[in-house]
Every structure is written in structure tokens, then in C-alpha cells.
């Protein structure tokens, strides 16, 4: 009651409004700072197929978990407080459970917000790209014929192939990822036999090089 009956002249009205606006800015900037400090999505956590780029994803996804519940393999989960991606958002960890690349993409179909593209064809999905990061430990580099990553790949023959090469004076067959076909489903990472996966799914900007000249240190 007090607030509505308080005598209001123009001066106090302006001061009150300014105070409120100031408080809104204080709160807004603080919350924005907190969000910036939580950092960006972690490279170890993959988004479901059809996810928009991370910056768009974070304003589109309402954290409802419909994609999580639609996944028949329990691949996805919603981030809890303290896990790597933004709290409440869906992600998966390929080394634990990869994406099994359902033909009808039920997770993306279930998304009510458009954060996941419901029209995505699973072969066009870009969850990341597989990269052979640990060639010192990869059994194929040691001259064995492990090739498990090649054999489990759901897009075998296109996304990953064995290419003959030579290493330490030995003829070897090198598992070679072709980024144009790899969806980043993580099946290779899941099944890699080394204790810490030697082939891993990374976001494309971390996992791939790019053509053109290095601009670092040069004036535009």
C-alpha cells in the first residue's frame, strides 16, 4: 500500500525511475558477468545432431529435455550444475555413449524450439569431427592391424578409411578421417581400445585445420 499512496511529484518519480533503472543495470550486468565467467561449451561435451551453433543454441534451447527423453539409447543428458556445458542444456560424452545416428533423428524431431534442426538428415549432422589425436599410442601406428575405429564407423568407407603409409620405417595402415563425411557421432572414440581414446571427436574449429595463409601477426 505504502508505495501506491506515497506522494509522487515529478522529481521523486524521475529519481525513483532512475533508481530502478540503475538497479536493473546492476543486476543485469552482474548476471551477464556471471554467465560469461561460466565459460563456453566444453570440447568434451557434444551437442545432439542438428544443434545450432553454440551462440545461437544457448538462446534457443529452453532446457526441457525432450531430446534427452526421445533418444532410444540414453545417449543424451541435461547438464547438471557443475558439469561442463551450460546448466540444463543437452549433451553427450562419446566415450561413454556415442550417438547411434538414428535414421529418423528422434532427438531433433522432438525439439520444440528449433535449437535442434528438426529437418536434419543424420548424414548431414555436424556434432564434431573425429581426430586421431594419439598417434603415439594408436595400435595401427605401431604396425598392428587394430583398425577398430574403421570397422565400427557407421559411415565406414566414407568417413574413415585405412590409408597405407610408413612410420618409423614400418609399413602401416593409417586410420584417416574424411571430415566431409564424418558427423562426429563418436562411435570410433567409444570403441578405441587404448586406455585413453586415441581417436576423439572434437568441435570442428578445434579439430580441423583450414586452407589459406596464417593471418596471425599480419596486418589485415
Amino acid at each position: 500500500m505504502a508505495s501506491s499512496k506515497r506522494k509522487m511529484n515529478r522529481r521523486t518519480a524521475i529519481t525513483e525511475t532512475a533508481r530502478m533503472a540503475g538497479a536493473v543495470c546492476l543486476g543485469g550486468f552482474s548476471l551477464a558477468a556471471l554467465i560469461h565467467s561460466t565459460g563456453k561449451a566444453d570440447a568434451r561435451a557434444m551437442r545432439p545432431p542438428g544443434a545450432q551453433p553454440e551462440a545461437d543454441f544457448l538462446s534457443a534451447c529452453v532446457r526441457c529435455g525432450l531430446c534427452v527423453q526421445a533418444c532410444p539409447y540414453d545417449t543424451l543428458s541435461l547438464a547438471e550444475w557443475g558439469s561442463e556445458p551450460a546448466v540444463g542444456t543437452p549433451f553427450f560424452t562419446p566415450r561413454e555413449v556415442p550417438c547411434y545416428m538414428c535414421r529418423d533423428v528422434p532427438c531433433a524431431r522432438a525439439c520444440p524450439t528449433g535449437a535442434l534442426d528438426s529437418d536434419i538428415a543424420i548424414r548431414d549432422a555436424d556434432m564434431g569431427v573425429a581426430v586421431l589425436v594419439g598417434h603415439e599410442d594408436c595400435l595401427n601406428y605401431k604396425g598392428m592391424n587394430c583398425s577398430i575405429c574403421v570397422r565400427v564407423c557407421p559411415i565406414r568407407g566414407d568417413a574413415i578409411t585405412l590409408e597405407p603409409g610408413e612410420y618409423n620405417g614400418r609399413r602401416i595402415m593409417i586410420p584417416t578421417v574424411h571430415s566431409r563425411h564424418c558427423t562426429g557421432c563418436g562411435t570410433c572414440e567409444k570403441h578405441c581400445v587404448t586406455g585413453h581414446a586415441s581417436i576423439r571427436v572434437l568441435p570442428r574449429d578445434l579439430g580441423l585445420g583450414g586452407s589459406g595463409r596464417n593471418r596471425a601477426g599480419r596486418r589485415a
Partner: protein, 291 residues
């Protein structure tokens, strides 16, 4: 005796007049609704019975999309172009709360309400009544701040800390370390200020309160002539200021403030049946017409 001790002080007069059961009628209905809704969403992931999918942020209940309009609003401010489904869902929820009362969300759905009601009960029992007064408009500032932060960061800002979302997800998918935020809300309500979170700070409540200003279902002091000034309704009410115009004013007996949660606490507590669940068009009843 133990049962008597459990009854909150603000319900004592109602219990004396009407017995324990009737003095807890609306409280019981609310708790059943809150727990029932959480249970409905837990049935799918826990028992494989899929009546409702998703969670309180957005869901599909028997094929009908439902979405939280406040979360969607932050997303849009943050630059998202939402798909049709979530917009329809938010529209349906807006319509529903325009009927049942905006902050019916707080009293009847939100799981944090159970936490803060528990804090309030404990506060009464332990006699922690010394208060630091908060301005109840603070929640409007927080609401504005969440929208500003959403715009600045291009995210759904409040979802990074929202105890309401954390709590409902705690039951449906998992909470992680987020329980500390829920604990903080409990301690705030217990030690710092009466009804601090729900009635002063929470931007979700502030948002639904704006819808509530125009909503149909309202509690009304239809028999305000019978009021004995015992103060039971003011003691139990999470937003005591909303009662005054309806109970003591000359105009409509309906509680028209958007801050009212339609929780029915006043109906439960009143020993002389002043209040009824009614609509915003309620008319006062004269004592003879009612007897």
C-alpha cells in the same frame, strides 16, 4: 499433541473453528497438485509411462505442447527465433494462467514453493520473526535484470541460476551441485526475511504476477462483513498487502492484485469463512443472504 504442534500458528484459529482437515483443504490440494505434476513428469523417465514428456520449461502432455513463456521471452530477447511449437506452447500456458490466476504457478505448480513454505513454517515454529524488510518490487528489478542479461549475453540468462528450474529438473533429470542454490533460498527465507524469495525476489513469480493482473479466478472476501479482525489471513498470506483492498475496502471483494497466488491460505485460515475461491467479478454477500 504432536499433530497440534505441527500445525502452523497462522492456521490455529481456522483449526479451532473448522477442524484440522478443513483448515488444510487448499493447502492439501496445492501440495497434491505440486507433487502430482512432478510425479507426472517423473513417470516417463522412471517408470516408462509417458503421459508427459519434457519438463516444466517445455513439454508435451498427451500430444499438446506446453512451454514456459518467461523462458521463451528471455530466449527471444537473447536473439532466438523460436519454432512454432514452443510459441504455441507458451501461448497455451499464458491462456491457462489468464484463467486460473498468474501466480497460481507459484502456489500450485512451482516446487520451490514447498521449500519456502517449509522455511516459513520453521520460521514460525522457531520464533525467528525479526525481519530485514525487503522491497517487494525488487523482483521487478530482478525480472528486468534477467532480460537485460539475456540481451547482453545472447543466452537465456536466468536459466543459469534459476532455482525453480534446478529444483524441478532435480526430480526429472538431475541437479548436480545445484542443490546449494535451493538450500540458499531455504536459508534466506528462514533466517533473513519473511517470504524473501517468492514474495520479494523471484523473477518467475514477478512475470506470472503480471499475467495475474488480468486473470479470471480470484479469491474473494465475499463475507467481509463477518470479519473479526483476528489477523489469521494476514499471518498466513505470502503477500499480505493483496488482502487489504478486498477485505477492508468498499469496492470489489475480489483480491485483484497480480501478486496473489490463489493459494487459498486465507480461506483455510479464516475462522469465520470470509473468503471463497471465486472470480474477479465476485460480489459481496450480505450476512442474511448467506445464512
Amino acid at each position: 499433541m504432536i499433530l497440534r504442534w505441527w500445525i502452523s500458528d497462522s492456521r490455529k484459529l481456522g483449526v479451532q473453528a473448522h477442524g484440522v482437515l478443513r483448515a488444510h483443504k487448499w493447502w492439501f490440494l496445492r501440495r497434491m497438485t505440486q507433487i502430482g505434476l512432478l510425479g507426472l513428469f517423473m513417470l516417463g523417465p522412471m517408470a516408462g509411462i509417458w503421459i508427459a514428456r519434457g519438463n516444466f520449461a517445455s513439454s508435451e502432455v498427451m500430444g499438446v505442447p506446453l512451454s514456459d513463456p518467461y523462458i521463451l521471452l528471455q530466449g527471444v530477447v537473447g536473439g532466438a527465433v523460436p519454432a512454432l511449437s514452443v510459441v504455441i506452447g507458451a501461448g497455451l500456458i499464458l491462456l491457462a494462467y489468464l484463467v486460473v490466476g498468474g501466480r497460481a504457478y507459484c502456489g500450485w505448480v512451482c516446487p520451490v514453493n514447498i521449500v519456502t513454505d517449509a522455511a516459513f513454517w520453521l520460521r514460525e515454529k522457531t520464533g525467528l520473526t525479526r525481519d530485514r524488510k525487503l522491497d517487494r518490487r525488487t523482483r521487478l528489478v530482478v525480472l528486468g535484470a534477467t532480460l537485460l542479461a539475456s540481451a547482453l549475453t545472447g543466452t537465456i540468462a536466468w536459466e543459469f541460476v534459476n532455482p525453480v528450474s534446478l529444483t524441478q529438473r532435480a526430480f526429472i533429470s538431475g541437479i548436480g551441485f545445484g542443490w546449494v542454490i535451493v538450500l540458499a533460498v531455504f536459508l534466506l527465507d528462514l533466517f533473513v526475511s519473511r517470504r524473501a524469495w517468492c514474495s520479494h525476489l523471484c523473477p518467475v513469480g514477478a512475470f506470472y504476477g503480471m499475467i495475474g493482473r488480468g486473470s479470471l479466478v480470484r479469491v474473494a472476501a465475499v463475507r467481509r462483513d463477518a470479519c473479526t479482525d483476528c489477523g489469521a489471513c494476514f499471518n498466513i498470506c505470502p503477500e499480505p498487502h493483496v488482502i487489504v483492498p478486498a477485505l477492508k475496502g468498499k469496492a470489489s471483494p475480489a483480491i485483484l492484485s497480480g501478486d496473489c497466488q490463489n493459494c487459498g491460505g486465507c480461506i483455510d485460515a479464516c475462522p469465520v469463512d470470509v473468503f471463497r475461491m471465486s472470480t474477479r467479478f465476485a460480489a459481496p454477500k450480505t450476512p442474511e443472504a448467506n445464512s
